[in-house]
Amino acid sequence: MTRRITPLYVLNILLLTLLALIFLFPILIGFLNSFKSFQEIFLSTLSLPKSWSLDNYITVFQRIKLLRSTGNTAIVSALAIAGIVLFGAMAGYKLSRTRTKYSTVIFLLFISSMLVPFHAIMIPLYQMASKLQLKGHLPGLSVLYIGLGVSLSIFMFHGFTKSISREMEEAASIDGSSEFGTFFRIILPLLRPAMGTIIVQMFIWTWNDYLLPVLMLLDMRQFTIVLSVNTLFGEYGNQWNLILPALIMAVIPVIIIYIFFQRYIMQGVLEGAIKG
């Protein structure tokens, strides 16, 4: 279909441009003001900063130890995603291939929790984390994410496995390959599209999450980015010249990842939402 350039068409584009700017507004205005001094922000938030000096950024970068908290967040996310993908793929694949009553019941048990919101299990989970000594360290936090996230992963892999033909496994098994060998060499590579979806979903969740880390991490040295920023906000409530650079630096890694993997992220989020 070819489109004619009508006044309505132009108006539509102008309106959309305005709306897109509104969606970006908090980030843009935050960025603009992150270079200003406390007084400058107080006088005018709308003008350009007098100088694009990075002083605010350097101060904040050191104060919240951003490099460390970014590293912490990366460790937690990476461990959590690895566990969720691996265990989810194994269980989802096997449950999908086993056609017994037993297996169906277990599958339903897994997905029954997908509607349970975090706040509903937060208190016993807190208790359980203490008992299992998962509190106060990064791998423990990842383990908690695996426990909470694995059922969605199983659900996705379970669905995706159905589209893979059984012939490959049968051929491999006749050639004498063990079941684990077949899974890791043949099945896992075939599950890659579902893996992408899960990785995207779990990255956005674990990287940006606030509640679980705030309950489980106690030591500043282990804080994730979101926690560091939250602490800074608590300490310097109105000192936007310190808070804004922290907020901008907190979103930079995500924005970079978004720019590079935009297509995959969009697809992953979409499939997660539609199938989930």
Binding site: G30, A91, F110, M128, N208
Partner: protein, 296 residues
Amino acid sequence: MMSRKVRKYFSFTAFVLPAFLFYFSLSLLPTMQGLFYSFTNWHFMNPKYGFVGLQNFINIFTKDRYFVMALKNTFKLVAALVILQPLIALLLALMIEACAKWLQKIFRTVIFVPYMISTIVGTFMWSFVFRQVFTQIGSSIPLLGFLNQSWLSNVDLAFWSIIIVSLWHGTPLLMVIFLAGLAGVPVQLKEAAVIDGAKPSQVFWHIKLPLIFYSLTICMFLTIKDAFKSYEIVYALTGGGPGWATQVMTLNIFEEAFSGNYMFGYASAKAVVFLLIVLVFTVAQLLLMKRREVEL
């Protein structure tokens, strides 16, 4: 040599057990424990606790003014978002769909950015906008004078501030879902309708909408689920204030359990009420809307 059956059983266990252990101890068991604790008077500091029957639940609805208020606020929030969020997302999607392909891509990419940002970080940015930027815009541009108000300390405006941030964070995903739905509507159908003389509005109501009803179901579901769960935005924007005017259930449960009170038994009862409400509403919505979907 093991029998075939035993081997099968072994391999099933080897594949499923790791995931099950994580899931069982960190999702399933806590859910059941929560139910159990809700009938006790367990306090965090006190290792001994006793059964109190339904007393917690009775107290929640008869003596706990703040929880009832939080309940009302949560429903207000859900109601407002369930109407506004899919509507705005659908309008955005329709507007974007009308553009050339390369423009579609740009708009979609840009508007999706808020979804990628941590809710709490995004809310802090909005906090700056509400507290510093809006007041300054309002006082310097007469046309936008209405912006010059104390957004977060006025009871009604605080509620709308939460709605604004929720929409900002929530609509992008729904918009993408609608766009995908619209892209799936066959071009021939639209063209045939146009040739038959259908107006754009008729094409929308009679062709597009029935065919993207599936997307609408998903969007409603996500909106309801996320609106009930809202915590970060309220916490970071108003903290439930002014007073308790914008407190929601999640905030109330969290405070009961972790901010000073540590009434784990009582808070568990609140969590159970919360869980039941969320389940009833999400399941009812899915059942109601699933029935109306059209298969192509």
